[in-house]
Symmetry: C2
Subunit: 342 residues, 2 copies
Amino acid sequence: MKRTSLSELGEFGLIQHLSEKFVNKQSSTLKGIGDDAAVLDYGGKLIVLTTDLLIEGIHYDLRYTPLKHLGYKAVTVNLSDVYAMNAVPKQITVSLGISSKFYLEAIDEIYEGIRIACEAYGVDLVGGDTSTIKNGSILSITALGETDAESVVYRHTANSGDLLCVSGDLGAAYAGLQLLEREEHLFTADPSMTPVLKGYEYIVQRQLRPEARKDIILMLRDLDIKPTAMIDISDGLSSEIIHIGTKSGKGAKLYENKIPIADETRSFATELGIDALTYALNGGEDYELLFTIKQTDFPKLKNNPDISVIGHITEMSEEFLLITQDGTPVRLRAQGWKNFSK
Amino acid sequence: MKRTSLSELGEFGLIQHLSEKFVNKQSSTLKGIGDDAAVLDYGGKLIVLTTDLLIEGIHYDLRYTPLKHLGYKAVTVNLSDVYAMNAVPKQITVSLGISSKFYLEAIDEIYEGIRIACEAYGVDLVGGDTSTIKNGSILSITALGETDAESVVYRHTANSGDLLCVSGDLGAAYAGLQLLEREEHLFTADPSMTPVLKGYEYIVQRQLRPEARKDIILMLRDLDIKPTAMIDISDGLSSEIIHIGTKSGKGAKLYENKIPIADETRSFATELGIDALTYALNGGEDYELLFTIKQTDFPKLKNNPDISVIGHITEMSEEFLLITQDGTPVRLRAQGWKNFSK
């Protein structure tokens, strides 16, 4: 029997490989695999459906992640996918697998974080499953939201000339992760030391307690802007631009000096001797929204402090270029999570 | 900090404890936690939503479970919950966590089982997630189905005098599990032996490759019978009768000599010196449907080879009695999975 290791494919390759064998046959399935969420039509509002699997030791580290934050983040990263369809999340289910080393009080902390997120975003917890596992913990969350045929926004519908926009700032979550891991290593080596997070509260919060950009979706409605394509930034800006471009059969041009990066992210990158741009392009876990708009919508957004116009969609299929500060074009590459690669 | 171990609560106790802190606030949530599936109203057909977490070493053992069967079963156990709401499943999502010891060809086997189940039951795979985990494997599946306000059947709506009915036969899946575990132990002790499954094909198949009772739902529609309450049998007949009775504020009387048990299940129980009734009452994983009907519907079902009328709902709140062969009443107890108890 042939044996192909998963590291040969990577995560995107595996998803591509597995999904090729499935064909949608139900008339209620408008969109299956291949976007932030599936889109279903049961005759009323359109339903969007998305699910995420979070695994201890892969997606979170309980040595520096407070349990309440874990519960909160597990919800918001799912809701981010719902908003990325221009939909409003309404319900979630939560399945929890935990080893017997966890006490009820620890589980209560996780669910308290889940409850706070449900309150903050207006969603109901309507189901789930619980089980023991041998080691560690896992969380599997599914979110449902509603939209309609006029509002739903996919990844594959960007047009050349559309402006590439991004909410908030990028790279902070990954900078926060590197900081937490550094302090954890120092603490492990010398338990008498105190982890130094002062001055880096913002990047730590972006890593441990990210928000989903509900406010951006509401603002775009108020401004009467419907994005032509949208995706949430979970794997890094490069990867998401390539997703939108490839699915739309287009390319993109992106300007380094337009990419929003917080001062704190830059400070930490400097401290480590790393280019903060790397965090923004490949860091992931920002949960900001990347979307494209028609040029005619530009005046409505141009002075908005929460939105940066960072480039535009081009006709050149699958050519993704970053124009650096000094005007040099550099090819973008998707890095993604690659959690199968090592 | 207080520390309460999970074994003090058990699974049902944990679910009860966690769900008490959540209140449904969305108008689209008709039913949240507490039935086989949540019921949601997005303005068209009603949506039912259910999710299950399957964990290697807890819910399945890869030493005797073929990967294709694992994929198939993971789907059917979820669809069973959809049918138990008198709904038709339409879409599933599948999340898979696997250690790097799994090769692509093994994952393909799991997904081939998933694909075959999707074909057999007419559902689309519309999303999911994949990740590495440190040890073993886990599967998290969510199913969506459609029904309407006239058809949906809950657990809490049984009336006293209603007849308790069950599809198929009970206890075979648990007998199959005991057989597989026995042969596995013998094989581990002496690898030169060949596991003996001959004569027990039925109970093995009921354990490894259960079906969801789509046919029963269709038959009930054809017979113009709408159950007054329904649940699928995943934790054993006792536990499910108690669920229906307790949620409906009623009791139930059940007759031992009416409980359907296959000859093969009885033979294997005899071989082990166990009462086959124990398998039927507490074994679990049968994925048959337990439902209640009005007495006026009895003539439509009375000679049906696939349905057994096993007792009736009584007015006595929370009194659940098994009437044995010799007429002695015995109190039923819920056993359930209890996977937190050890």
